[in-house]
Amino acid sequence: MMVLLLVLPLLGALLMLLWPKVAPLLTLLTAAVCSLVALQLVSRVSEQGSLQILLAGWPSGLAISLEANSLSSLLILLTTVLQLLVALYAVATYRRDKLGAGFWPLSSLLQLGLTALWLSRDLFNLYVCLELLGIAAVALVSLSGDKAIKPALNYLLLSLFGSLCYLLGVAMLYGAYGVLDISALALQWQANLLSSAALVLMTLGLMLKAALWPLHAWLPAAHAAAPAPVSALLSALVVKGPLFILCLLWLQLAATTQAQAMAPLFSFCGLAALLLGGIAALRTPLAKNMVAYSTVAQLGYATLALGLLLQFNQPLFAAALWLFVLAHALAKAACFLAIGEMTATLGGKRLNTLKGASQTMPLAMFAFAVAGGSLIGLPPSGGFLAKWALLQGLWLQGDQLLYLLAIVVVTLLSAAYVFRVVALAFDRAKPVKPDFAPHIVPQWLALLPALAVWAMTLYSEPLLRLLKQEGL
């Protein structure tokens, strides 16, 4: 099953390169089949527990090990489903938006890279996956043409730098323990200067790649410059890859003393990201930049949850962390597709373009508002679930009033930037005329993930149960 998830997008991409004419069809096909397989994988993992493979049948340590636990399988499902959705959106709009032919194979390879990353439990293999992801992401950003080259190049350089920091950490750990397999490494782990230095280096690199505050500066430009479907993929999935590795490192490898020492730093970075990212989103005049800054801010929740998880070892925080990731992925995909659709139709990059959009493009605006509700954390959305888990954890710890206060403030901040757009859309004074009749299908496609994130609450109990186990 895992093999199918890895091979299908790869073979699909190769076929697309050979016969570019059938590329859209092939992308849809592979994404659809992969979604079904991923669904099967999730159900199988939740029934029978996690699946482990030592690749090529070699003994542990020598072989690369893959593991599909419930978290990985959920993330794979998320990846494939979003891939399918974005591919549908791209099929619906690629003639109008002049999306390059490169999009199809690249997005399939991106899917491969993500799937491989969620499954891998080998430090060096994770490095290769990271590079795969980074280069695919940059190539996708550069599809936008000349205006995207500069942010793409900047993204590439920083991403490479991040990977190299990570690689140095891997080299140091291999030098110290002689293994690359994470579970084997965890058995021999000692908290000393060498392992701490390696962890810090890897964390630095991964934070840069995941655009966690204060290393986020590249993200808004890159995500805003990319074509809408690409921005959706990048914000929803790609930044989560390094975050996933970061969590693997700190949760499975790091010793308690190291984790305790690092925890306040993560919490601080998370809060700072939430505050400053939110303020930046509130101030920027450009529509896509607003959504991109919101990604910076929302990643702060995940960082904060990670910090709290390391500090208190409370499974609720693990659930919160991954719920944030899942909910944000769906919501942000919806946001980018909706905003992309609106700016394309109304013709303009600035937020003012959206004036009166609730009349001209009600569906897309509705999708944005619904997704925004999840970003704010309004019940009964996925964002609410995550925030609920976070609050529960904090209250159970007791005496965390500072964090609670901060959460209130940042929630209001996110509400402010979401409703800044919504209020503009209700402005009836001088609505911006669309350049052409709005298309219905892309708007519905933007709405789908937004509805999905609200539907997450229907499965909240199994989700919470699954994710609580995975954190520790």
Partner: protein, 311 residues
């Protein structure tokens, strides 16, 4: 003792070259120094009992990266000299870097001097791998998944570079790169000879061979030979894709051929056929690497046909 002296000199030279490359005003000098640095690095690796890596590093550091940088330099006539940086602009990063270096050095001093336990495991399993050279065994059998993904990364770089490849400027802008390639050509042939010779005792890696082939192809291509080698050509695309495709297909075939009583494991070769399979993969991977790298270096002259296709 004299060996230690040699080591010290080599290390100092490496550091000096790297530092000079980073600090030199002129970008051309920086690239030159970097190429020299790459060659010295290859020497150091050869000293450290890694001749095949040294070969690869020489091919990359001297050949590929150099050619790439020179062609990039030829394209950008703008701001080749840097504006002088003010002291604070240099001081703060320097302080940061020195602090970081101190931390890393302190950590590295704790490294144990014993080799990884994996060495023994790899040696023990070598007989089951189908090849005699341990590095090849690791690359194409023990950790073949890494290698497959690495080939995908290479392909991705090509896919990313093709649509943004700048249209070729005048022929004169290539002159620098051209002269450089002419200079390089004999060295490439020399190194290829070494590879062939080394291949007798230890199987040469697909990568080294690929790089060398690519270097040759680049030289020829720049001299207006091999003009069929372009992305629009279906057969070239097939060649580029073949490296990965053969890899995956063989793996699927192996999965399919696994006897029913054995657990089917992804990428595991049947022990009897392993040698043949690895050779097959290597051949195609070499061709794919060579063609991919050639296309990457040469860049696409971007005829009209390709433009319309990519829209």
């Amino acid at each position: 003792m004299s060996l230690l002296l040699f080591d010290t000199a080599l290390c100092l030279l490496l550091l000096a070259l790297a530092l000079a490359s980073m600090l030199s005003r002129q970008l051309v000098n920086a690239v030159m120094l970097y190429i020299a640095f790459g060659l010295m690095m290859a020497l150091a690796w050869a000293r450290l009992a890694a001749p095949d890596l040294a070969l690869a590093e020489a091919a990359i550091g001297a050949g590929l990266t150099g050619a790439l940088c020179f062609s990039a330099l030829a394209r950008q006539q703008l701001d080749i000299t840097a504006a002088a940086l003010s002291w604070p602009q240099r001081l703060w990063p320097a302080t940061f870097v020195v602090l970081m270096l101190g931390g890393i050095l302190a950590a590295l001093l704790q490294l144990p001097s014993v080799a990884s336990p994996l060495v023994a495991v790899a040696q023990a399993e070598l007989i089951n791998s189908g090849v005699s050279h341990p590095v090849t065994a690791v690359l194409l059998n023990f950790r073949s998944w890494d290698t497959l993904l690495e080939l995908v990364v290479l392909l991705l770089a090509l896919l990313g570079a093709l649509p943004v490849a700048p249209a070729e400027k005048s022929a004169t802008s290539w002159s620098l790169g051209l002269s450089w390639s002419r200079l390089l050509a004999p060295m490439v042939i020399l190194l290829a000879g070494y590879l062939l010779w080394a291949g007798a005792s230890q199987p040469g890696g697909a990568f080294q061979a690929g790089v060398l082939l690519a270097a040759g192809a680049v030289v020829l291509r720049l001299n207006q030979q091999l003009n069929w080698l372009s992305w629009c050509n279906f057969w070239v695309r097939l060649l580029v894709v073949a490296g990965i495709a053969v890899f995956v297909l063989v793996a699927l075939l192996a999965l399919w051929l696994t006897p029913a009583n054995v657990d089917a494991v992804w990428l595991s070769w049947p022990p009897l056929l392993a040698g043949g399979i690895i050779l097959l993969i290597e051949v195609f991977a070499t061709l794919a690497i060579a063609s991919t790298l050639t296309l990457l270096v040469v860049g696409e002259p971007a005829p009209q046909h390709n433009r319309t296709e990519s829209v």
